[in-house]
Symmetry: C2
């Protein structure tokens, strides 16, 4: 595209790139500078305070007294570990499948010869606890229930607490929660709700580059690990649990990312506070949802939205890829596209992590400008008015 001439954008020489995808999210300068320090060796005393700050800080973010293992992998590696460490080939698992990441649980189980019963939830909806109850009642051999807290492909959240209560009517079943875009985003109290495994990753609410997975394990999950016969080596969590209290990892840790995590946990826990982080994220999410409604757009998950991100249907008469391209090339605004069956049909705006009110207003204003430029017949301008009103403070 010729970016000079009368039709070129105002900022053509200084176009700022802004990421609004649900991971990787922007990394604060101070976190990037923390990661740019000279590396200590991981088996020396110099690194122990960093490891310990991460180990203890993660427990607070996960709201658990149980260990939270840090793995050098992305969140998908943590999901893999949450299957191979808990189950044996032939075991029966229940999977809540309401988007691309629900599908991923089923795929991982299939790779390990774990039998699955899947509850297919309409994309954009939250799971119905009654369907979970019926599946558990009909299949007494189900040993684990896998679900997302926040389904990143649709922006919907599932009723984790209610499902956990159902799972815990049985002693021989664990609930495993993909909290990759939920932990640190909104209240998901692992111990209080009795969640057995909660997985997350660095490039979400933790405001870090990708490369770290976190896996928190209840005592029940740790018991399951002793029986589980799916093969694993790199992701063998028993090896990690054996050394974590001594501030060590079984393999070499991703040292620079842990140096960044120490810094980002200071922001989350000591400065803003976990409740403050949740409140900020929720306020931005709420304002964005209401702004999209004010423009007349339809939300993908109107009834059970996750505060992590807002997914929005591309309106009739507008082509999804053109909308994303305009936002990206003309305005420097990167929103996420739809995945799987939603490809080309929706766009997604992230709220989790390092975002403030003006980022949200920017995203809304950009969507309005792009829609307007592409011939959207609805009303624009209402969105940014609504967002500003709701974010006045």
């Amino acid at each position: 595209m010729d970016r000079e001439g009368p039709g070129a954008p105002l900022e053509r020489h200084v176009l700022k790139t802004r990421l609004f995808q649900p991971g990787p999210v922007p990394v604060p300068d101070r976190v990037r500078l923390a990661m740019a320090q000279a590396l200590p060796h991981h088996r020396t005393a110099a690194f122990q305070p960093t490891f310990e700050a991460c180990r203890l800080g993660l427990k607070r973010v996960f709201q658990t007294d149980q260990p939270v293992v840090m793995l050098a992998s992305t969140g998908t590696g943590g999901m893999d570990a949450a299957v191979s460490n808990l189950l044996s080939p032939g075991d029966h698992a229940l999977v809540i499948r309401g988007g691309k990441f629900g599908e991923r649980w089923a795929e991982i189980c299939a790779r390990y010869d774990v039998r699955t019963t899947c509850i297919d939830v309409e994309w954009g909806s939250g799971a119905d606890p009654q369907a979970v109850k019926a599946a558990l009642d009909a299949n007494p051999d189900i040993r684990a229930v896998y679900l997302q807290a926040s389904e990143t492909s649709t922006g919907a959240s599932h009723p984790v607490r209610e499902i956990a209560d159902l799972v815990h009517r049985r002693d021989d079943c664990v609930i495993v929660v993909d909290g990759i875009t939920a932990v640190g985003v909104y209240d998901l109290p692992m111990d209080k709700w009795g969640l057995d495994v909660v997985v997350s990753g660095s490039q979400k609410s933790f405001m870090l580059p990708p490369g770290l997975a976190f896996v928190a394990l209840s005592e029940r999950a740790q018991r399951f690990m002793k029986e589980a016969r799916c093969p694993r080596f790199y992701f063998d969590l028993a090896g990690e649990l054996g050394v974590i209290e001594g501030n060590q990892s079984a393999w070499t840790p991703a040292i620079s990312l842990l140096m960044g995590l120490e810094e980002s946990l200071k922001i989350i826990l000591d400065e803003e506070g976990l409740e403050g982080t949740w409140a900020r994220t929720e306020q931005i999410a709420h304002a964005t949802r209401e702004a999209m409604r004010a423009i007349g757009l339809d939300l993908v998950a109107p009834d059970s939205p996750s505060a992590a991100l807002t997914a929005v249907f591309v309106p009739d008469g507008i082509e999804g890829p053109k909308l994303r391209a305009y936002l990206r090339d003309e305005l420097g605004i990167n929103v996420a596209e739809g995945q799987g069956k939603f490809k080309g049909k929706i766009f997604r705006i992230a709220h989790l992590g390092y975002y403030d009110r003006f980022d949200a207003i920017t995203a809304v204003a950009a969507v309005e400008m792009a829609l307007s430029a592409l011939g959207f017949s609805g009303k624009t301008g209402e969105g940014v008015v609504k967002a500003t009103e709701l974010l006045r403070g």
Copy 2:
């Protein structure tokens, strides 16, 4: 330790910490600054040049036309993948076991129910190709031979080329090389020698923090992958191979580390040149070995030394832990300790990666100062003379 008073070291207020362990090695400032830049999203055009530079640059460092997969994990994850992607439960593998990392190959195979025949090599020695030939002849069902190029726990190198020639007398067998401390350290031409899988990691010759594994795969290895039934999901290399030519990874890549890799590959390939890197490393390694001999110390791998590091026996009358503690606490010099059966008995000085002649002289001088302080009865001073003489240029 009270670091003030007459016995305190000269540098007590500005003690510089120097890492001489074989990974993580020091990261050049320009590489750390590259990683400190704002992150692009990995599915955008902005990131493609970085991914492509890494993808193509790695082929040159591995000396292969075959794909080199980049995984968000440490090198051990790459080793795990090199078993689970090539073999099926019940398959038979030959493992060269001459140190802690040889043992690791056998442990990984055991986890996946791969049967192993192990050739136990005295720690510090290189494997005898005749023993490999005998084992292959006696076991016609061996499908894969696993070994280290450079055994980091002893500082010994194995005769990879000779063993590759033996393996390739058969069509149905692959050779899998842990090149974690060999790739980019010395000449290990994958295609020319017909190596089927070569594994490496970021925190070695690539001068990066830990968190990236590299796995290069020959056509034969890629054929084996199609038959291999060991379960894998996160480490499924077929998923990576399916998208790598389009400059994508199956899962989210460790973006910041790839930004650093792009920069470090510029140093290795465009500035120093691969041969220059090998020559620098070898000269430093040679000088260090000769300096240790000049002090009267015994090398762990005198006959088949790897240029990656030099392992040295702690002399009689000196306690290994005290030597390492003095080096670390009084002099700021971090050498690696012995692992496994060598714990407390040896120390190891790294040469691979971002080291120059004065680093080597520093390491030698520090060892002499520490030995002298701890009452070593041998001659000191000869080491630094020898190193300086050999590194005069």
